[in-house]
Symmetry: D2
Subunit: 335 residues, 4 copies
Amino acid sequence: MTQTPLRFGLIGTGRIGQVHAANIAADPQATLAWVCDPFIEGAHALSALYGGTVTTDAAEMFASGEVDAVLIASPTATHVDLLEAAIDAGVPALCEKPIDLDTARVDALLPRVQSSGVPIALGFNRRFDPAFAEARARVAAGEIGALEQLSIISRDPAAPPASYVAVSGGIFRDMTIHDLDMARFFLPDIVEVTATGSTTFDPGAREHDDFDTAVVTLRASSGALVSITNSRHSSVGYDQRLEAFGAEGSIEVANALTSLVSVSNGQSVQARPPYQNFFLERYSVAYQAELAEFIKLARGEQSTSPTFADGRAALILADAAARSAVERVSVAVTL
Amino acid sequence: MTQTPLRFGLIGTGRIGQVHAANIAADPQATLAWVCDPFIEGAHALSALYGGTVTTDAAEMFASGEVDAVLIASPTATHVDLLEAAIDAGVPALCEKPIDLDTARVDALLPRVQSSGVPIALGFNRRFDPAFAEARARVAAGEIGALEQLSIISRDPAAPPASYVAVSGGIFRDMTIHDLDMARFFLPDIVEVTATGSTTFDPGAREHDDFDTAVVTLRASSGALVSITNSRHSSVGYDQRLEAFGAEGSIEVANALTSLVSVSNGQSVQARPPYQNFFLERYSVAYQAELAEFIKLARGEQSTSPTFADGRAALILADAAARSAVERVSVAVTL
Amino acid sequence: MTQTPLRFGLIGTGRIGQVHAANIAADPQATLAWVCDPFIEGAHALSALYGGTVTTDAAEMFASGEVDAVLIASPTATHVDLLEAAIDAGVPALCEKPIDLDTARVDALLPRVQSSGVPIALGFNRRFDPAFAEARARVAAGEIGALEQLSIISRDPAAPPASYVAVSGGIFRDMTIHDLDMARFFLPDIVEVTATGSTTFDPGAREHDDFDTAVVTLRASSGALVSITNSRHSSVGYDQRLEAFGAEGSIEVANALTSLVSVSNGQSVQARPPYQNFFLERYSVAYQAELAEFIKLARGEQSTSPTFADGRAALILADAAARSAVERVSVAVTL
Amino acid sequence: MTQTPLRFGLIGTGRIGQVHAANIAADPQATLAWVCDPFIEGAHALSALYGGTVTTDAAEMFASGEVDAVLIASPTATHVDLLEAAIDAGVPALCEKPIDLDTARVDALLPRVQSSGVPIALGFNRRFDPAFAEARARVAAGEIGALEQLSIISRDPAAPPASYVAVSGGIFRDMTIHDLDMARFFLPDIVEVTATGSTTFDPGAREHDDFDTAVVTLRASSGALVSITNSRHSSVGYDQRLEAFGAEGSIEVANALTSLVSVSNGQSVQARPPYQNFFLERYSVAYQAELAEFIKLARGEQSTSPTFADGRAALILADAAARSAVERVSVAVTL
């Protein structure tokens, strides 16, 4: 059943905006209609590749009436205002995480999101990774019985620059937030957060009172425990693993190898090339699936896109983790 | 450095022709200019997807002067004539394997290929698989010392229909030929072929005096031995493995898993989903790389495309295997 | 260099006492001289297999002057008194963990242990597992750079009977204590403990206010973080894994497979038989090595046996974990 | 049910004789009663460790009436005479492979073996390896459907000295014979042998007209094909693998790792320490099980010990392989 492609407005043309632009252009259900960035060269570059009218001003784009959906990939501080503009314009939005670093601003927006009925999705791309989605589906199907423990390992290849750390909101809101949402993908109802952070190698983290290393424990209302292990660097490549442990078995998601080749010799055997470099490689398929699912949402079809409420929940957990790590107490949460 | 895309004429619109059409359309260095098939509906279908003028007659296409290169994906029996037509027209050709089932016809064409200077490449796609290419490069770089043994396992998911077996030329010319070329990818100078065939499950093979199961041993001039293990079916999915064993180590190419997920329970642990279904999945990247390399060849640039001589060599080895399996003797060959 | 075998007195003939008896009998450096258990049938059974004078009364054994070393494998509540008796008799002792459930009793004994000079070793058998010992040696050799994170997964095959839970001292003192010592094997100087417990499946744990599921985070003085994941049951068999993550790489210890066989079919591939059942299988070699190392200690030779101080440290950490899990705060410790 | 231990006479005190002596001493069902070797120092050394009367003359041992069974681990050329002596004395024998290098001598002995009723077992230890035995049992149980292909990889760690090669009977009778028997463990009725040999690295093999590298293909009466890949050296350690491929799945036996540890870093991931060194490590459990099974045979109980006929069959296959490799023809055999 062919449908008219959705006309997308893309806001933000940085690394992640470029990924979305390419996926919009490649998806037969979508076209890139507008590209918006105060840094106009970025907008021009993407428009040259994939088409679309260029502007520095999102308001102009919304006013044009030429966008059926927007993809918000601009800096975090702009998200709330842009979401509000999208709601005003009645345009469905897919917004990168986090919604904002300030939960109060998110809470203030919540009633409008709920009353407007404009579809809002959050960019928790990992839910669309085929491996994590398969693992979750098999757990949901009862393949390992009751889920008792969930272990998530998530390590970035290298620490970001100190300038990024300064405005990131801290490791929990910036990096762990993905893992907090992954935890909720399996166990939505988290009731307690206990976090421990450490700064062992990154001068940027030290300078800005942040952590480069963290362990977070979550308790679900079912009693299941989640353990998240984070590091801002990883010499073996992007480290993205998960183990769901149930009463009757366990399901693991391994790191993606970059080659089918292994080498054996007198020093070691079965050695494989290092893992993928970072999220652009690891989650390329996930970004495509995320977009496809959002298109369904924007069209009013049944969709599994993470919601504004999911984005808010992850932020509440990140806030609780940040508080727990500093105050050395477990923090009860209500999502 | 942008170049004008190469205008391709595609001959043959069956399963493999469709793969090539999609890759031509997706490659910025190529466009699909003509689509040729006596079964005109096939040509129309591909033209509708990727463009190109449609014809039932390859001669019309060659006469048009509108093709810079041809991709020959028609039935084997037509290859020699089409290659001749391409040479006459001075149009570079990428021809699917085998060149022909009759070595005499291939030998007859050889002088024209050599004297014409028209670039001819053979479709031994597996050479372009990233894993096999990596394995070969690492062997060539001396990582495992002198190559002493090469073990190739190659099993198709399911036996072809009896009607296909009837005209296939037999398992060695139809299926093993890929593995014979893979052997030559590592050890070009094969001097002896010893083959054993058996018919254990396939009524089609039995009906047409063919084998469904085979083991082939090759001797290289260096003294290295190659072992090829074939089956026309495989319940675990497409089985494509290789082990290069050298004086100082070994390099293995494993089957491609379809998921990063494994499951463990009280019955078994670390169980993974089955392997990929067949060559379209396993070698999708290889077909793209094969095309890219052929485009270089067609443009007169340095290229690693397998040559007409490689196609002839594989056929000689397949003939020798067929004879060895029937006569129960080792067959010396000169390539 | 042959030495007169050490004459061992074994106290306690339960499951673990039987392991030690067999190892003493098999070690050419040791003989089983006395077997002591108030349950005299147990003592007779072991004596029948491996020799040794039988008694219900450890005092008689110490008085005999016929033991060069004792192995204390009796119930936890008896350990402190028996260690005191060993010190009084000047007989080196290898004592099963924990020293006692009451840190005050352990602290009270400490000065006597220190002043007496009688060698006391604690039965932290996992330090002698070849895999964990190799991992630790390679970390210590700098193979992965600075150790930043240590992840320990430890799950028993099945929950113990409620009667055992009742007297066990709780999961942290009974089960986690092994993992706490393993953490100290890599990172001796732990400064903070944060624990989370849950009761998800075991009625015995529920009945006795204990946990069946736990996650413990430790902070080392270096800033390195340790994550321990425990469960009282595991459908895949005894689950004993470790990952040391360093600035330049990581080292993993996998579960021991029970077979080299894997099976692949249309449903799943590479499925292996389940892991070993429990500690008697997993650590059989470790118990032998533990004994051998203790024999060196008893003879005044250089030895890596865990000390009384190690036993005390693990207990302090277990106490802190128990308190943390109940009070929902991180607990600072000084070892 | 306790039985009087079987009194063993051991003939031959070389490397493999020493293994058997230790296993006899450790098996509660056996004692080492006599140790026989013309090299009397070897006999004295084993007797000192495990007991037993020492002699240079097997006849003296047989005459003593003090042996219930003999274990023949002397040089191959002595086997037939010693088996004859055992039959004369009515003493069950476990004889190392091969029975003899000369099939005519084996055939000549056959009627006596058959008519005497004295139990004779052949030392094909690999049948008792838990992994190979499990694989075979699962194939026999129909787990992978009809067995269609069997791939055996068998590589020794290092080539033997030239002096050994000189008297070994050649690679097929000396080394491949184990794999030929393993093939028959799965597919007893082999009807055709095709072998290819090469000499690529070993001066000893070259000097004595032997091969250091070989590939053997066997055809079973069922139509199943067996592929054996041999090398006299292997830089990764003793390489002993098998894959049984059936209509409904496949079963693999992997190499035994020497450690549970793997290391990952920026150069490679999941690297494991090299495989076991050689057969003494790989098959230590198999030798014990082989002995236990022979003890049953000697006692007239049901036993799965390989028979004299199995030894003869392996020799016939080895002879056929040797002829095939030289004459470059497939050789039909009747076992």
